[in-house]
Amino acid sequence: MKSHVLGIDFGSTTAKVVILDEDGNTVASCVSQKGAVSDEGVRAALRGAFEQAGINLSAVVRVVSTGYGRRMLDIADRTITEITCHARGARALVPEARLVIDIGGQDSKVIALDRNGLVARFAMNDRCAAGTGKFLEVLARAVNVELDDMGAEALKAEETVAITSMCATFAETEVISLLAEGRPKQVILAGVHQSIASRTVGLVGRVGKHDPIVMTGGVAQNIAAVHFLGKALETRLIIPTGAQIAGALGAALFALDDLRSASKVKRDDDDAVEGKLEQLLADPQRCTPACGKKETPVTFKA
């Protein structure tokens, strides 16, 4: 049986799992939406991934975790930050990438890659939610639009309104007063997306703009965010298939490096991975694999 490696991106709102075989083929990728750093979400994503891969727990010999909750997972052999992992994953998906914009639930980051695909510089938002998925979430609620629909709604607007508050809380107040003035929701939503694009441009400015630009992370699925950001950067953003799992893929690729550099010798504690996975999955709060949203496995060259 082939050895496998696993990458987990334990984010603030989602958990993502990618499993690669020892030849670097993706055999599973799975996303679970489970809310704030939830164990349950990790289990759902793991179950989904194992089902998709059709392998036993014992087949996985290396695990690398990344994301906001990366250190909460004792199944991981090591942890690597989401910045390093997103860069690696994005580069695997789009080999020519020179800049990675990753907008996640709590964080947004911009990573410049050097010619060899290594992280050259990065910038990340500070404590404030401005320019993150959270900002969109708060304002979707304020406008009373489903998060998944807000992008499409925003693009229907023929004009836009300036939302000047950087802070999500103040922006919410601002949006409410715009609603009170009778501004159409779509116009306000366009303004909200413009605002997030504007914050991201600020982050891009901190590392410098380098084309081609790849966008990863959950917000890459929001068409209006992509539209306004592309416009502001005066470029077309590349949204690869599997943009959301780029971090987990990067983590899995680092796990694969570890496996390969371990000179193919089975480690004493290889079985430990299986044991830890078993423990994690054996939680009484049973969660079926269906909780996990399966991603179409993506192809790339490891």
Binding site: E159, T160, V161, A162, T164, S165, M166, F170, T173, E174, S177, L178, E181, R183, V187, Q194, S195, A197, S198, V201, G202, V204, G205, R206, K209, F228, K231, A232, L233, E234
Partner: protein, 454 residues
């Protein structure tokens, strides 16, 4: 990269419609003509072979004018860009370069112009996407910088940053303006040994500055011309003060907003008969309004004081907004306590000493205890009902004493206050919802206290 707002998109400002309009003075149009002429003249300075000096803070323009040097006053440039809605571009450039938004927005806007200026090559324009037609890039690059900032260390650092932005190639003269703190009880407003000592130190540096100017122009300095210029400046300043004092009348014939719109002649316009004529006109119009009982707002129910620097991109809007509340902003610290505010001490035979005295007693250069006493004097004189404290977020020099001012006027005069944050030229810090609710609460407090009095 460009600023996020593209021209083809119609931008709806978040400013709800206004019910009443302020009754603007006709003379202000003259001010606008002079201001436009000044900037157009400055934009041509290089072509006409004149030297250009960049300076901030105090009004050094008479000293430069006497040496035939054109000047760009940093705050004036930033305010101009803000008033014409062109401050976003230089501010965005600065943010891209890594300058934080919490840094003095005057400095950010002005240095942004410096950057735009320095990068007026085709390559740089492509890189920075600088539109050569923007006002910011029309401001001519400096041939010299004179740094003289009262109280505020950020002002001095702003000049230092400009000096470095231009590759340390532009000569700079650094004047240190000491703060009159008052270690001894003998230190009073414009008097006492500490004050005299600081004035003497400043005067000496101004004399050295003149030698610096002579070194650059290669010509002996024309002291007679300085006296001549200061004659007009002094007269204009006197007329301005007289006209302002007339606004004690009810209803007040002019507002703080009008005086804000009349800062240029006493801040950066050339000293000459035009500025004297301007304030004569303004004073005559005010006198005529008093005779006819015409107020600055259609209905004057409340008389207010504005403490803080103006939101330069909101003057007209705020002026109408308060008119809508039946409130006249009668006076304010920025306009009534600065800009050749003590012209009587200027001796035209030896103007530097009196100029130094004015420079050192501007409203950010006098300490909080003196600021408070002065504000209380003004509030009593103008019969003020309440205070608006506009905390300019990136001008800490101006905003820091405001809690103390609020406390003192509350305790000593029993006046209510409304405090809110804003900024001088970065409008992203201004929140209309907050302003409205605080101002309305204050006006309600005034109503309540009047009801009790009845």
């Amino acid at each position: 990269m460009s600023a996020i707002i593209t021209p083809e998109q119609r931008i709806l400002g978040a400013e709800p419609p206004i019910a009443k309009k302020a009754n603007r003075l006709q003379a202000t149009k003259l001010n606008n003509q002079m201001v436009n002429a000044y900037w157009e003249d400055l934009f041509r300075a290089k072509e006409e072979g004149r030297l250009v000096c960049w300076t901030e803070g105090i009004q050094l323009n008479p000293i430069l004018q006497a040496a035939d040097i054109a000047w760009c006053h940093g705050e004036a440039a930033a305010a101009l860009l803000a008033a014409r809605k062109e401050s976003a571009a230089p501010q965005a450039h600065m943010e891209t370069l890594g300058y934080d938004r919490e840094l003095c927005s005057y400095a950010r806007t002005h240095i942004g112009c410096g950057v735009m200026n320095q990068s007026s090559t085709v390559e740089a324009q492509t890189l920075l996407n600088v539109d050569a037609r923007t006002l910011g890039s029309r401001i001519p690059a400096p041939d010299m910088i004179i740094s003289a900032y009262p109280f505020c260390s950020t002002g001095q650092q702003w000049d230092n940053e400009l000096y470095r932005t231009f590759g340390k190639k532009v000569p700079i003269f650094n004047i240190s303006m000491d703060w009159v703190w008052g270690n001894k009880s003998s230190a009073k407003y414009m008097s006492g040994p500490e004050f005299r000592e600081k004035v003497a130190f400043l005067k000496k540096q101004l004399q050295d500055c003149v030698r610096f100017i002579e070194g650059i122009t290669g010509k002996p300095y024309d002291w007679d011309r300085l006296s001549e210029i200061m004659k007009y400046t002094k007269r204009a300043a006197e007329l301005r003060l007289e006209a302002m004092r007339l606004c004690k009348a009810r209803p007040s014939p002019a507002s703080f907003f009008e005086w804000t719109n009349s800062i240029a002649p006493v801040n950066f316009l050339p000293g000459g008969p035009e500025i004297v004529h301007y304030f004569e006109q303004k004073k005559a119009e005010i006198e005529s309004r008093i005779a006819q009982g015409i107020g600055s707002v259609p209905v004057e129910k409340y008389r207010l004081w504005w403490d803080g620097i103006m939101n330069w991109n909101k003057i007209g809007w705020l002026s109408d907004k308060f008119a809508g509340y039946d409130a006249c902003m009668v006076a304010g610290r920025y306009t009534h306590m600065g800009f050749w505010q003590e012209p009587q001490v200027i001796d035209l035979r030896d103007p530097l000493d009196g100029m130094a005295q004015n420079y050192i007693t501007c409203p950010i250069s006098i300490s909080a205890p003196q600021v408070i006493e002065k504000i209380i004097e003004h509030c009593e004189y103008y019969e003020i009902d309440g205070l608006i404290l506009h905390g300019a977020r990136t001008c800490r020099a101006f905003s820091y004493p405001q809690y103390m001012i609020a406390d003192a006027v509350g305790k000593r005069l029993g006046l209510p206050v409304a405090m809110f944050e804003g900024d001088m030229v970065d409008e992203t810090f201004y929140k209309d919802e907050v302003v409205s609710s605080r101002v309305e609460a204050m006006l309600e407090a005034i109503d309540a206290s009047r009801a009790r009095m009845r």
